[in-house]
Symmetry: C2
Subunit: 464 residues, 2 copies
Amino acid sequence: MSSAAIEFSRQNQSRFLDELKALLRIPSVSTLPEHKTDVRRAAEVLAAELTRIGMENVRLIETGEGNSGHPLVYADHLHAPGKPTALLYGHYDVQPPDPLGEWLSPPFEPTERNGNLYARGAVDDKGQMYMHVKALESLLTTSGALPLNVRVILEGEEEVGGEGIAAYVASQPADLKADFALVSDTEMFAPGLPTLCVGLRGMIYTEIEARGAKTDLHSGMYGGAAPNSFIALSQIIAKLKDESGRILIPGIYDSIIPPSSEELAAWKSLPFDEEHYRETEVGSRQLVGEPGYSVLERTWARPTLDVHGMPGGFIGAGAKTVIPAQATAKVSIRLVPGMTPTATFAAYRDFILHLAPPGVDVDVRLIHSGEPCLIPVDNPYIQAATEALHEVWSKETVFIRSGGSIPIVGDFARHLNLPSVMMGFGLPDDNLHAPNEKFLIANFYQGIESIIRFLEIVGEKAPS
Amino acid sequence: MSSAAIEFSRQNQSRFLDELKALLRIPSVSTLPEHKTDVRRAAEVLAAELTRIGMENVRLIETGEGNSGHPLVYADHLHAPGKPTALLYGHYDVQPPDPLGEWLSPPFEPTERNGNLYARGAVDDKGQMYMHVKALESLLTTSGALPLNVRVILEGEEEVGGEGIAAYVASQPADLKADFALVSDTEMFAPGLPTLCVGLRGMIYTEIEARGAKTDLHSGMYGGAAPNSFIALSQIIAKLKDESGRILIPGIYDSIIPPSSEELAAWKSLPFDEEHYRETEVGSRQLVGEPGYSVLERTWARPTLDVHGMPGGFIGAGAKTVIPAQATAKVSIRLVPGMTPTATFAAYRDFILHLAPPGVDVDVRLIHSGEPCLIPVDNPYIQAATEALHEVWSKETVFIRSGGSIPIVGDFARHLNLPSVMMGFGLPDDNLHAPNEKFLIANFYQGIESIIRFLEIVGEKAPS
């Protein structure tokens, strides 16, 4: 065990944390046009830091038509001939912070409370992505070299669908040639329990738009004659799932590849208390979802459908008696292995157009999509990761799936033929995409150590 | 026919129109707190004008708890002993202008096009209310007196429920003692067709709030386990009406007093072309509503339910994969004679609480309400109005109802024992509560003449 890099990381913990805080102060919200320059600023800060620690060929790669997207940050260090090449991936963009009123401290002013760092992006994914940078710094500073070859690719569009990196990976696969990818954008199953994520759900994110009258109308004058776009949309949404939570889109469950009986048995042995989960994480009166499946099966291995918001009409305080001409619902479906975005969207769209009530025109738009994926656990990089985690955490690694989507993992597999090691250090109560997002500071530090050891072990095991 | 006042009004048409434009430039949007000072400014402008034309005892009357509401404007001229007293009512507040993007000219910059004046409030109700003021000016300037006694009461909260005036009418009925009310806040059935409105729908305006999880959650992590507040709300809304448009709230139709067979026969003889109405006014693919009733019956004499907007969740551009903890629907029900706000809200609330799906908590709030009303047509003021309209428009008056709500008309009947004469000059395509609200300028002028003649005829017919 190369204690030099680990020692360096321990001695520099408070500086590493200060640097992370500076990065978190940049409101790099990729979905909001008003934050476009903030997103670029975060990219520039990261490029400067990668240069400072000794990475090479550091550059921003523009994305989108006419460079309209947020840039990728690239760096490499390819001086370990005969050793494998790691592709270190992370994202520096964040979700919008709303609803702002529910944050206990401002989302872009990182605040420490009870050993946690609270900020938008603390864990998803700036904090986790920055562990990679600090692991590389620790190795480069103490050895003047890296134990293997490394490419770094950071994106600024993960929270808006990652089109830029997807196009880049598909069109320039040689630029990212590597033997495996390391992705830290997932969580540990429980505090102190080292975890590798080996399955992700995919997603289609859509908008359903219903248009009734040609213009907004007075509900007194026209109520009883004019179609109401929100009622039409509600009628459609109410028919997408039955009362029990089963999705009613024809064929949606037909092509699913179910988990193996070994995987299901392993999930049953995980420390999961449904009542504790309901009370502390979800906080609802009861849990919902498809009957006949456990919570872990429902969230990891079954498709689900959610509505995120319904823009249109009057949403101010007080009363406006309008029949809104137009209403939109933002709806997503999570996909599991065996499902494809294309087939799922086609079935979903057909079903909705079939459901459209009289008097309204309905459009269904695909905003973005990602494939589900499943990583084989018998590859040497997963083995090395298991070993590194055992050294740092003194516990056996558990293999889980995530209900979330990291579309790039599927792209790495498809275009670069890379297995991904999803080694994440978030915790289940970290409030991803929600107010009061946080990252356990101890996990930030131990995550850096885990990554240092993982890269060292991969280098050691390879023939030199 | 006292041509002096009519002549004066004709000679001053362009000044009257300029004054109206100045009033329309004040964005007196009563529902938006940021326009509170604009609402007061409109009241002050009107008080100054009433003083200038010779009205007496002009004053602002504060409303609301701790004077938190928008003021009433009062004026009187009580120098016709033995003659009846008219209470002239109008409102100077307006609806919000959104969606702003659909206006062809700015909502608060009155613009003439094709003989119409376009502005928020042009017809509802600044333009119509101002006809009263200009009729009084024409009479006072030419005679130095009025043919009857007049009180003027103008409110600034009509579009937010009119609580201030309701409380004032209920608590200070002596201050508004009169023999009849004149209300110009309705429309003509067709261009050039003099119309008196003798029935109004009432309303309950409500909010339904659904709460699922304790905070917004990531739809990847929790999709399949956490209740979705928007899906719950959609399921509730979808059950409030059946597919045909019939409201499903138990008992909602039970107490309705149907129109008489004479009234129904008169409605059938009105010049109404359903296909023209669908195409030019509503602009939807087809009309909707309760089966078995004509469009006029559905909009005038049947209760209807509309959704105005569904605040909560993510409504920005792009994608945010959140399961919203909270979602609200703004829903109103229009009431017809025989129904009461209290009983309707109770039945509606009970039904919704009964419909609430598992996992969510549901609240139902009453934002405001108004009673439906029906005016007997055999009173002398309706007769005088019919005569005045015949003189000015050279056509027989038609009696219609309105699907809209003017709660104050019910309050005048209940607390002051006054019949209201609802003599309005709007047109069916005036875009009330919608973008591109307008008022036909010729109707503004002929409306002033109609009101002058109406007040003169009431004065002439009374014993002196």
